[in-house]
Symmetry: C2
Subunit: 191 residues, 2 copies
């Protein structure tokens, strides 16, 4: 996605330890028009890759919500976001899986209510970054626990230097990323 690549090259700041700051349009300030385009492009690539009869987009709070919502808009389906703390409103059956946050250094447990994910669902998982793949594994675990069918996974940005794709070799559904970045001499480059 050309515009996304250009924005990354102009605005990404490498903070060391694998952490790429993209707060100017992706993680803190959201460029609404770009984010709407990102959702359309993720939907297009997933459908082109074979995702069919998708009825739900699944993501994790917080930074996944914006791209998941715009992808869900493009697909015309609802979106469910996993919560990192079990809220007081989440009563009854609940799928849970834990992932270590690379940027925050802490273990987070993702929660999705049994009310909103079931064996009838055909889902795509959307997130902002594919990094080490730890969050991806927790999300895949939640979908598997629910019995839903995985139809595809879409990332805005893949950090190729963190090799998260190595965890996804056995996934038969399409796994797409709109931009693939690497670090060279402490600078962010596009692959």
């Amino acid at each position: 996605m050309h515009e996304l690549d250009q924005r990354i090259l102009a605005e990404a700041v490498y903070l060391g330890n694998g952490i790429v700051k993209l707060d100017s349009f992706l993680n803190h300030r959201i460029d609404t028009i770009l984010m709407t385009g990102i959702g359309k492009e993720l939907a297009r690539l997933l459908l082109e890759g074979g995702a069919s009869s998708v009825n739900k987009v699944v993501t994790a709070e917080t930074s996944g919500i914006a791209p998941a919502l715009t992808t869900a808009q493009a697909l015309g389906v609802p979106m469910v976001f996993a919560r990192k703390k079990r809220p007081v409103t989440l009563v009854g059956d609940c799928y849970q899986s834990s992932a270590r946050s690379h940027t925050k250094g802490e273990l987070a447990t993702l929660h999705i209510s049994g009310e909103y994910l079931s064996p009838d669902d055909r889902v795509v998982i959307i997130d902002d970054f594919l990094g080490t793949g730890d969050t991806a594994e927790a999300m895949l675990d939640l979908v598997e626990q629910s019995g839903a069918t995985l139809c595809g996974i879409g990332y805005v940005i893949e950090k190729v230097f963190e090799h998260g794709r190595d965890h996804m070799r056995e996934i038969e559904a399409p796994v797409v990323a709109l931009a693939r970045i690497d670090i060279e001499n402490d600078r962010v480059v596009i692959r």
Copy 2:
């Protein structure tokens, strides 16, 4: 907003202690089509109420992000969401203000980077619920710290029984809510 009122009456569950569960379309599972309509309606009411030359929508994670993003889409402007934990990517100047979460019972400190809110900005604040007004006060404090101009505040749902509007009497900008709910005999009703 008729459709929103109907969904609240059909799906809201009152859990006691002022807590209303609307996880089926607002806070956990997001009804994408309804949420897109909510953003258009919030934008329309704020503009009608006098909000002009708005260049940014401001909200707080997590549940504010979806309605803030669709309102920002309708207004054609970017969106900034306050973070509850200061992320490693938030380096440099930062506005901070604390609010007690009624539903979570804990004190949360909201953070917005000085990079993304400044005296040049004309902002509307969007959130899912107007409850006791504690989060609203923290958001207003962040906007005031930045020197930005407040052009309006929009809520998806106002809990009239928590009297948050009492904190907003001195605000000259429009304060709108798409639905106003109350509790009668442990059931949610529309006001």
